[in-house]
């Protein structure tokens, strides 16, 4: 459904060029959820925003349903925006405080020219779908709780009947009990409406729960992609191994047996990313050649791709 090839986005700043997204490639198949994980600042959100052309890509290709949408004009993009919607991280900032919930949900319908007489009934239907009631359509965002606001954000994303929804850390701003509600609701909606998700997160257990496949990003590049279970049971890339070892385990007995692999150092600056394999400065298995050779994603069998020749 969505194919991203060598997507690259740099930002020019006074202190240098930030290599935010550096040659990211992946595909998302219809009906699946691709989880995109990585530390803060590794380029997850930028990748998502470049895919829907909120940022102009510097290189690479974005192919949606067979159409190359990398360089089409914003006017041509409009038809694709109907199909690709986005859910944002911060439910407090992503809703216009001067519009009622109903107006917020109605806006994509107006933009995408859905007949006016259907609007009200669809707003009510969408509110029900996300677990709010239709009386709440006349209320303003500040009258809702964080979880309810995120439901409004989800209803807005569903309003234009999209095929692909990009969820940019949709639950990380909510507290844990609400997170589960929202994630379960997203899963239910996926089943009933046949949606495809690109699910960005930094909480690994959450991603494992919802994703069909998972892509791990480090410093603007994808280092590993695999089926969700495969990635958890058999992580190959040293970064993924270390990342997974950091996930807390609820069972204290198992937790004591667990071996955390700490990484040394900080994430290098995205302005001057390390040469060769970007992870070599922190990799416990680094070899001299890692400094010069930049590894490509290799098929390790079973749909498992990893950008480390020694894994």
């Amino acid at each position: 459904m969505l194919k991203v090839e060598g997507l690259t986005k740099y930002f020019e700043t006074p202190s240098g060029r930030i290599h935010s997204v550096d040659g990211v490639s992946f595909t998302i198949n219809k009906g699946e959820t691709l989880g995109l994980v990585g530390e803060s600042g590794c380029g997850k959100s930028t990748t998502a925003r470049t895919i829907i052309r909120l940022y102009e890509p510097d290189a690479g290709k974005i192919i949606f349903n067979g159409h190359d949408i990398t360089h089409i004009t914003q006017r041509e993009m409009l038809t694709f925006r109907k199909k690709i919607q986005m859910i944002f991280q911060d439910p407090y900032a992503s809703l216009n405080p001067r519009m009622t919930a109903g107006e917020i949900i109605r806006e994509p319908m107006t933009i995408h020219k859905i007949p006016k007489d259907e609007h009200s009934s669809r707003v009510n239907h969408l509110l029900k779908l996300v677990g709010l009631n239709s009386e709440q359509a006349g209320r303003y965002p500040h009258e809702f709780s964080g979880g309810q606001r995120q439901r409004i954000g989800i209803a807005r994303a569903l309003a234009a009947e999209p095929e692909l929804i990009i969820c940019d850390e949709p639950v990380s701003a909510l507290d844990v009990s609400i997170q589960a509600q929202i994630v379960n609701m997203l899963e239910d909606l996926q089943k009933s409406l046949g949606l495809t998700y690109l699910f960005i997160a930094h909480d690994l257990s959450m991603v494992k729960h919802i994703s069909t496949r998972i892509a791990v990003m480090y410093l603007g590049s994808v280092v590993e992609i695999a089926q969700s279970d495969e990635l958890y049971n058999r992580p190959l890339h040293p970064y993924t191994v270390s990342l997974l070892s950091s996930v807390p385990i609820p069972d204290p007995e198992k937790a004591t047996q667990k071996h955390i692999i700490p990484l040394k150092g900080e994430i290098p600056s995205a302005i001057n990313p390390p040469s060769g394999c970007k992870f070599h400065t922190r990799c416990p298995k680094a070899k001299p050649e890692c400094r010069s050779v930049s590894p490509k994603l290799e098929d390790k069998g079973n749909g498992h791709f990893c950008a480390c020749p020694f894994a």
């Binding site: 925003r49 829907i52 909120l54 993009m77 409009l78 925006r81 109907k82 919607q85 986005m86 944002f88 991280q89 911060d90 407090y92 900032a93 992503s94 809703l95 216009n96 405080p97 001067r98 519009m99 009622t100 806006e107 994509p108 933009i111 995408h112 029900k128 677990g131 709010l132 009631n133 009386e135 709440q136 006349g138 209320r139 303003y140 500040h142 009258e143 954000g153 807005r156 234009a160």
Partner: protein, 302 residues
């Protein structure tokens, strides 16, 4: 107790179980906050009283603003002439009320002209950003760096004294701060996530500007407007005081004060009342502006 008791309610069940407080719009909410601000409410009431007196006062008065009666010239305040009389025996109370018409309309109209120019200029500058913004704001800097009073006086000299030229002059001289403020607001709001969300949904630039950015900038615009009205009133008073304002027999507060100055030591009330009216009105607008700023500030809303 059964485990079923802990299942969440379905939407239908919840419909009746939830207690919903009546929905409040942003403005209703701000009004509620403003109502609790005593200084702002006093300011608001004073402004309303001044407006009512300005509009209806002269109609119901026994005296005309230009009716002369030399039997009472320079009379002190009394029961028949509450504010006393001027040197031509004109009733000062009716003249101060009449002056309020001129002064308030100058204040409001000049502010609205500067609002109109400022919002459009600042809005475009902030929205376009980058090089355009840079050029447009340097123009504002240049205008801002020369004291507005100089333009006002020069323009008044060119256009000739009179009410219409006061409106035009002040409108085109006082838009710079409004433009700066609007630009700053637009720049701030432009980067809010709900604007990104609208762009992601495919909203056109005009839709983003008019539906998302401008409604969110209105609070700050209203506050700036409230502060610019007394500024305009004061400028008009100053212009009239130095003889560039409205001409006799029309009277603004500035003209009245100016007329009273020569005889200040002998008939102090002739200066006291118009000057007092200026001070009280300006103070009231400032109180109201302060209150509005607090009531409309979105930072306090979370």
């Amino acid at each position: 107790m059964k485990p079923e008791d802990f299942l969440p309610l379905t939407v239908e069940e919840r419909e009746g179980a939830e207690i919903l407080r009546p929905s409040k719009t942003y403005w209703a909410d701000a009004w509620l906050r403003l109502k609790n601000d005593r200084a702002a409410m006093i300011g608001l009431y004073v402004i309303l009283i001044v407006i009512i007196l300005a509009v209806f006062g002269p109609v119901f008065s026994r005296y005309e603003y230009d009716g002369m009666d030399f039997n009472v010239s320079n009379d002190p305040p009394s029961l028949t002439h509450w504010f006393g009389c001027d040197m031509f025996g004109r009733d000062l109370f009716v003249r101060v009320m009449y002056g309020a018409r001129i002064s308030l309309s100058v204040g409001f109209i000049a502010s609205f002209i500067s609002l109109f120019i400022g919002v459009i200029y600042g809005g475009i500058s902030g929205y376009l950003g980058g090089r355009w913004d840079n050029v447009m704001m340097r123009v504002v800097d240049v205008i801002y760096s020369v004291p507005a009073m100089i333009y006002v006086i020069l323009l008044m000299v060119v256009l000739g004294a009179g009410l219409k030229s006061i409106f035009i002059t002040m409108g085109i001289s006082y838009w710079a701060p409004m433009a700066r403020m609007v630009r700053a607001e637009v720049l701030r709001i432009k980067n809010e996530e709900f604007v990104t969300a609208a762009r992601a949904a495919g909203a056109s630039p005009s839709r983003i500007l008019f539906r998302h950015i401008i409604p969110n900038a209105m609070g700050a615009v209203i506050v700036t407007l409230t502060f610019s009205v007394p500024g305009a009133i004061f400028t008009e008073a100053f212009l009239s005081f130095v003889g560039l304002g409205v001409s006799a027999p029309m009277a603004s507060w500035g003209v009245l004060s100016s007329d009273a100055v020569p005889a200040m030591a002998v008939y102090p009330w002739q200066l006291f009342f118009p000057a007092g009216a200026i001070s009280i009105t300006i103070l009231a607008f400032n109180f109201l502006g302060d209150g509005l700023r607090d009531a409309l500030d979105p930072k306090l809303r979370k």
